[in-house]
């Protein structure tokens, strides 16, 4: 084991400082050091996306990044996306359209979807399916996840149009 490193992260708007080994993965730092357990672990090969968080504005599979690589970064997890009394539209939409079942993939799905809609505000169904292909769900068959995301996109777009 090597010496510990001094890590600073801003997670969901809060500053954290702690010691970590160079080999510590971001996902375990979040889950086990900071008790942010929304992001989950579903594989060991960067396939499932259950661990998806946003690091400095980009979707990242946090099982595939050392916490040392994230030093100094701004991170958003599912816990920072909405609040109980002010849910994010995607959180509402997943519930409305039954876009989740066991809920294990959901934090990663919603976190990824927030970025997807920033990258492409008006996606086609194909673009949603392609843009979400890094996140695996074993329960829903994706149909209602896609529906949840498309519903938000069209809601946001009609709001935008109305504003113009």
């Amino acid at each position: 084991m090597s010496d510990k490193m001094h890590i600073k992260l801003n997670v969901n708007g809060e500053d954290h400082e702690f010691l970590a080994e160079p080999r510590d993965l971001l996902i375990y730092a979040l889950r086990e050091k900071l008790n942010i357990t929304g992001p989950h672990v579903g594989c060991d090969t960067s396939h499932c996306g259950a661990c998806t968080v946003t690091v400095d504005g980009k979707s990242v599979k946090s099982c595939t990044m050392f916490v040392a690589q994230a030093n100094g970064a701004e991170i958003t997890t599912i816990e920072g996306i909405g609040q109980p009394d002010a849910l994010h539209v995607l959180q509402e939409s997943f519930r409305e359209h039954h876009g989740l079942q066991c809920g294990f993939c959901t934090p990663g799905m919603i976190t990824r979807a927030t970025k997807l809609l920033e990258e492409n505000a008006n996606p086609t169904e194909e673009e949603v399916r392609f843009g979400m292909a890094g996140n695996i769900c074993r329960c829903t068959g994706y149909q209602n996840i896609v529906k949840s995301i498309l519903a938000v996109a069209s809601e946001l777009n009609s709001a935008k149009e109305a504003a113009q």
Binding site: T37, T45, H47, G82, R129, I136, R138, C139, G141
Partner: protein, 805 residues
Amino acid sequence: MNDLTPDREERSAGLKGLGCSRKRVEDARFTQGKGNYVDDVKLPGMLHGDFVRSPYAHARVVSVNKDAALALDGVVAVLTAEDLAPLNLHWMPTLAGDKQMVLADGKVLFQGQEVAFVVARDRYVAADAVELVEVEYEELPVITDPFESLKSDVVLREDLAGQTEGPHGPRKHHNHIFTWEQGDETATNQVLDGAEVVATESMYYHRTHPCPLETCGSVASMDKVNGKLTLWGTFQAPHVVRTVASLLSGIEEHNIRVISPDIGGGFGNKVGVYPGYVCSIVASIVTGQPVKWVEDRMENLMSTAFARDYWMTGKIAATKEGKITGLHCHVTADHGGFDACADPTKFPAGFMNICTGSYDIPVAYLGVDGVYTNKAPGGVSYRCSFRVTEAVYFIERMIEVLAIELNMDAAELRRINFIKKEQFPYQSALGWEYDSGDYHTAWDKALKTVDYEGLRKEQADRVEAFKRGETRKLMGVGLSFFTEIVGAGPVKNCDILGMGMFDSCEIRIHPTGSAVARLGTISQGQGHATTFAQILASEIGLSADSITIEEGDTDTAPYGLGTYGSRSTPVAGAAAAMAGRKIRAKAQMIAAYLLEVHDDDVEFDVDRFAVKGAPERFKTMKDIAYAAYNQAIPGLEPGLEAVSYYDPPNMTYPFGAYVCVMDIDVDTGVPEIRRFYALDDCGTRINPMIIEGQVHGGLTEALAVALGQEISYDKMGNVKTGTLMDFFLPTAWEVPNYETDYTVTPSPHHPIGAKGVGESPHVGGVPCFSNAVQDAFRAFGLRHTNMPHDHWRIWQTANDLGLHE
């Protein structure tokens, strides 16, 4: 008062009871990342456990040296079979009546088998220590083929050597587990011998894995001060785990509390009892600290229960007109190193004897031989009732093969052989009593919706165009009609380790008219907290929003047998309805007392009891609840509570008609699903939104199994598909949109007529996808080819048929 009374319909809608697409109460916490899964459990002083696993599929364990591991800073203990033996915990019973090593006792029987359990300060130290445990192995000959196993001199299970009698009868060979026979073989053979037409086919239903997104795990905490053990874990049957833990450990059952927190999908993977659970308990007892064990994905795919692995041979007899006269089925079942099948005790091949399917087949025979090999143990029902997926795949392939033999349309062949509506309850040749069904109506609706005739016409045109060289894509029309058998089950038939498979519900109504209900089941994503409240709302007249559902804590929930095999709605759902009716019966007496009339003079009306003939005189269930706690009512105890243990009189038999339209590129082997239509009949529909979600999910798992998902081994017994790089889980990109539809044929014996739906789409989906692929090649002479139909295999099929020339 009177004119303020909302009309009946409005009151009924306000309850959000049966038939309402109520939004899920679970979603608030899941969408905010506030689920509580086993890996989220964190206790003061908690240690982490990790396994040393065998790299060999068959080997003697010569020695285990723990010194280097124990010397590592942060390592607290390393357990081997030797450490567990004095506690008699080095082996454990399996649900199928066999026993299984918890930690390798002298030898290993499959790659990935648990050899030692390392306990350390954190997961990183534990993983380091695993590398430091030195195990010396002596390799033994490996057998991965069950047919070879039955001929081999190599004795896989030395602990059973010389035992000619197993838990399910005689063993024919040292690697043989059981023979299970149903039906009348002599009569079946007579029919086959005299038949006008006989179609014969052998098929392999490959080994696969349920692979829920969350792997298996547990946290054990032994409190040595008060002698209590608390165990959190991914358990589909928490009470069974408590009983097994008590029997194994000698800790009295009241001193064990088992908690299934939120479960990230199960699909059968979390029914069995795994060595990791046992080791976490022992480690906590030994160290006096809480111990967590959570497997990683590779461990999950390599060691915890697989599904399927059935070699099936069928013979089906028919008249020239296509009327089926008999069916013969033999299965060689590969159970791996231990028989750890999650089947009810009396059915070593589960409900494989539903293999006559939806057809009126007068005579039939089924024989199953279970065999040991050097593969992972198990045999769980992956999103199906025990072995029903295999049975339905078998019959739905046999029908297709018979259609080819008869040169007949496969839809028509099904139609003329369906059990007719008036034949229900129908006694099948292999011993089941189908409760209700209307197959012809469902089939006709499905074929009409997809314009079946039009599809066949288009397909024929496509074949011609292909032959003319105008296209390289063939078109397949996949059909399947399935009958599931779910809701295990009547105690007289079904038990697990001797415990009858009833289920239970306990309801407490609070004075202010809200309620809590606890059940012996556990949701893994099915939305029980939402749907059970709906069943109760309709029964007791309180809004579903005022009813909390709790499951998964053995200290509070009544004893139940858990959730798998689509049994929650058929069994626990029935228990909920029955408990609700007990509440209602007492409420009726309270209402009559309050209204000063005789008990028989009040009647239940949605959310209240009203005086017969005078609906303006009533007491709402809320009024009644309050009175139950605040008034002394002569002859009645205070309070309003009920508990019901429900032993179903029969299983339920959901069914469905599926059609898949597929285009297949013969040069790349890529199938493109153009359309998938699924009609399900699950009896009374509790929450249509949730049913639809279950159908989407089940179909997607069916797509995976049919088109690529497989646990495969090389000759050395190495798992070739042990990570998500090789084990196919479809993403949003590979999955189509599905069309769902339904008919409603209630179960006559279930209190609310519901049948269960979670697994139907998987059971019916697999043969439908597979039939679509195979149907595309029917015009070129294909009779049968085994799943999974991945791109390479489809290309190979096309190549074998000479379509690349």
